[in-house]
């Protein structure tokens, strides 16, 4: 599960729709150091496939993912 993932920064995208979660995540990942982890929270049902694609396109790493009660959590490690 996700309990042992430590986040260095948290980004809450609750209630936001495409493209804003991706835009905000792209900005937020640049504000942490390489190797650090960003925890992003979203409610957009498009977020899970979008964030998986975001990882493929940007090369950052998704270290954990959660889904409960319409809330999605993502933990991204900045790789570069």
């Amino acid at each position: 599960m996700t309990a042992d993932v430590k986040a260095d920064s948290v980004l809450d995208c609750t209630g936001l729709l495409c493209p804003i979660p991706v835009v905000k995540t792209s900005k937020a990942i640049k504000e942490i150091e390489v190797g650090q982890v960003l925890h992003m929270i979203a409610t957009d049902p498009g977020a899970p496939p979008d964030m998986e694609a975001w990882v493929r396109q940007t090369g950052h790493e998704m270290v954990a993912q959660s889904s409960a009660d319409g809330k999605y959590g993502f933990w991204f490690r900045r790789t570069r």
Partner: protein, 185 residues
């Protein structure tokens, strides 16, 4: 000598050394925006801002009515047409609205349709068109004004936002030919 530096064939082989950190290549998106309705420009800016956020080299060629995207005054006045859209009006809260198409031509209907779309966008937390445009600019998206359209519609460089560069179709196709993805809206 200059030509050699720019020649990709002469790149040192070490660039592709095995085991090197795999850095995704910067993709390119060529987007032609030919329409100027609020409902037609939203998809352009959503695609462009998303591609920009992914770090793609994103360039938008604004032609015909799409030129309004880079028009200082006209972008702020974009409307939704109340006629010609068979899907309009969409169901509200699941309730199908039965509005005869002919009512769309009545004075003020376009204003109503525009107001409704702006309200849905606001209620869904989607930025308004101005903010979305600014997000595109901040993400590095480049907008080009079609030179021919400027001539046909008598639009001068002064009417356009400073960041818009005036291009012909040839220059844009030159970029599009090397793009990974080209979209026409």
């Amino acid at each position: 000598m200059t030509a050699q530096i720019n020649d990709p064939v002469l790149k040192p082989v070490e660039d592709a050394a095995p085991g090197a950190e795999a850095v995704p290549e910067r993709k390119k998106l060529a987007l032609v925006a030919s329409k100027g309705g609020l409902d037609e420009v939203y998809p352009v800016l959503i695609m462009a801002s998303t591609a920009g956020a992914l770090g793609w080299d994103t360039q938008v060629f604004c032609t015909f009515y799409g030129l309004d995207i880079v028009n200082k005054k006209r972008r702020k006045k974009m409307k939704v047409s109340a006629v010609g859209n068979a899907a309009s009006p969409p169901p509200i809260n699941g309730i199908e609205m039965r509005v005869p198409a002919i009512l769309g031509v009545l004075p003020g209907m376009s204003r109503v349709a525009t107001w409704m779309m702006k309200k849905w966008m606001k209620d869904s937390n989607i930025p308004d068109l101005e903010d979305l445009y600014q997000i595109c600019i901040e993400s590095g998206v480049k907008f080009h004004a079609c030179a021919t359209t400027m001539g046909v519609m008598n639009v001068s460089q002064d009417d356009l936002v400073d960041e818009a560069s005036c291009l012909g179709a040839t220059a844009f196709l030159d970029f599009a030919a090397g793009a990974d993805l080209a979209l026409f809206v």
